[in-house]
Symmetry: C2
Subunit: 377 residues, 2 copies
């Protein structure tokens, strides 16, 4: 196999670091062309020393470092020598380089699900026009994707599993006083802060439903969510004849990352944990009760409206989560803050990606202003 | 889709009847060219009235009936107007028509696993020569087959699930006095008598391992068995990267039968039960302890030797099971009777299908003679 020439957006974040773990395990399979990060310049420099990219980009001020020249992320992903881009940025800020990747007709392995939530309809249409491919990296959409391989008949139903997050089994009312530290303790997955908070509120699960709707072009009515506490079955697909396929494995993000990086091949990697059915114990399923998770229902109600609504949802949620992590609002305020911003939005229904970006930016601004004007913990 | 022109071997047995249930649900998809049965002429005639085959065959004496002309099964399956043969005969007697199907280069959907146990190596080699295709119908190999669809990299490990049969949780010693009625109560599947007894001893699970080895051309070392009491996960495949796919569904043979009949398509069938994860309850896995199941270990030990050994295994087991069902030997005698016949066998290592058929016939004869000469319950 020819080396895949890779750019990693968000290389110092959780998915970015794990992507480099996989790249490290296969020195002959990948060439890292570019690394883009946020403010963690120290780690970025270590990554440059190890993976020798030609280009770097960071939110923080940075110079040419050890042969890696600074270049805007949008330009790095569009370089002719790039085959694949790992979109591992967190939040709405990932849109620019993700869109540039799609416009350049490259393969985009997308962990940064906010981008698809913001503008899934437009981005997937654009990808069709440019010949770009968007591959899921998130474990649940990756599981669905693995399950439909080789199936010619359209799937009848996607069943997305949900661990239930840090507060599963508790009522929404009992979460009034939970701290960011408590909300950041995910029961099964090790992930970045934003997604872990979104998992606790099940906002993240709604985002996965939205991501699934667009990446697989399947109507919302054919997507179900079921609580599966063990995070072993990453999702399931029911086919027309009633047969169901599930994709399983220990909860480790390197599995879906590696699948996307090598797709359609599979490679042995001794670093990755293996599934042992007997040690795994029981696998259980419970009904997901939307009344326990107001964020979930809110998100889907607005996502289904289309237009710039989901972009506002993504922007408002991202802002509400930072306010919570900063101790500015309560965990249980998150859906109320998001709902209040959504209520103030005037949507653009026939929208472009630019409209979505502007709507998300407006949502952030509006949420912060409203909070500054009086909302207190 | 063009109508598939079908012959059913063993049409009055459990899998044969369920095959006709599927055919009945899709009146435009199949044409029944021939029906072959054993002694249940009454049911065969009903089937002829309903499905109007051109040819019939039965072990019992029969004439031309309602437009269906008697013809040897080997000739029916070889007719130019036949596309697919469902091999749903029970036991070693299925070999003749199965081999004729393969020799004629047709598609053989094979539920009759004894045929593959007897001569899997030779039959799969022969199928390659004639261009015949052998499709699994048994739920576990069907699950493995569904899981490898679209996967280009060879599977790393097949994990076959086992309900544990009628006596799961009991020690072998405690089964000394069990009756045929008790052994025929399968906890999850409704199947014919022979396979239900083989399930109780886990001989059937060994047969599935052997079937898997040949149908998928995978070494025995890469096939594991795990106890899964619920019979919901029908089997699993682990790939090189550690990702695992499982095929799931309510235990109903019409699912794998329909999958084989329509392969590679899938068709909606409202008659079939659907998987409901929440109603399903917990899915559990336990180590299969071979010491609890002497038949399992015995079967695999001899199957791995190759040559005519597995044919003797199949013949001796079939005879021992009928002796048990006739009240002639104890349930716990089955592996001893089989082992004693195996011990008396002089194998042919470079063997033909004919050698395998003769070895199985010898095994039946030897087992019966030895029993007549003195073994008592």
């Amino acid at each position: 196999m020819q080396r895949r020439r890779l750019v990693i957006l968000g290389s110092t974040g959780s998915v970015g670091r794990q992507t480099l773990d996989v790249v490290r395990a296969f020195p002959d399979a990948f060439e890292v062309v570019g690394l883009c990060a946020g403010n963690n310049l120290e780690l970025l420099k270590q990554q440059v020393d190890e993976f020798k990219p030609s280009y770097i980009n960071a939110a923080a001020d940075h110079d040419n470092y050890n042969g890696a020249a600074p270049l805007p992320a949008e330009e790095i992903v569009s370089l002719p020598e790039v085959d694949m881009v790992m979109g591992a940025t967190v939040g709405c800020a990932g849109m620019g380089p993700a869109l540039a990747t799609i416009n350049a007709g490259k393969t985009l392995a997308l962990a940064n699900k906010e981008v698809i939530v913001m503008a899934g309809e437009v981005l997937t249409r654009r990808a069709k026009e440019t010949g770009a491919t968007i591959l899921p990296v998130d474990s649940e959409p990756s599981a669905l994707w693995q399950c439909i391989q080789g199936e010619d008949t359209p799937p009848a139903r996607f069943i997305i599993t949900a661990s239930g997050g840090a507060f599963r089994g508790r009522t929404w009312e009992s979460l009034h006083d939970v701290t960011p530290e408590e909300a950041l303790k995910h029961p099964t997955w090790i992930m970045g802060d934003k997604i872990t908070i979104d998992s606790a509120s099940l906002m993240n699960k709604a985002f996965e439903v939205i991501e699934t709707r667009w990446l697989f072009d399947i109507p919302y009515e054919q997507i179900d969510v079921v609580i599966h506490r063990q995070s072993i079955i990453h999702s399931m697909v029911e086919f027309a004849d009633g047969s169901v396929k599930a994709q399983l494995g220990p909860p480790d993000m390197r599995h879906p990352i590696q699948y996307a990086l090598f797709y359609p091949d599979r490679q042995e990697n001794d670093d990755l944990p293996r599934f042992n059915p007997v040690e795994t114990g029981s696998l259980t399923f419970e009904t997901m009760d939307p009344s326990l998770y107001p964020s979930f229902q809110l998100a889907l109600d607005y996502a289904k409206k289309g237009g710039t609504w989901p972009a506002v949802l993504a922007g408002a949620d991202e802002t509400a989560v930072s306010l919570f992590l900063d101790g500015q609002i309560r965990f249980t305020d998150i859906p109320d803050v998001v709902a209040s911003t959504l209520a103030a939005h005037t949507p653009v229904m026939e929208h472009s990606v630019e409209d979505a970006v502007q709507a998300a930016a407006w949502a952030t601004e509006h949420t912060l202003e409203k909070h500054a004007a009086g909302a207190t913990i």
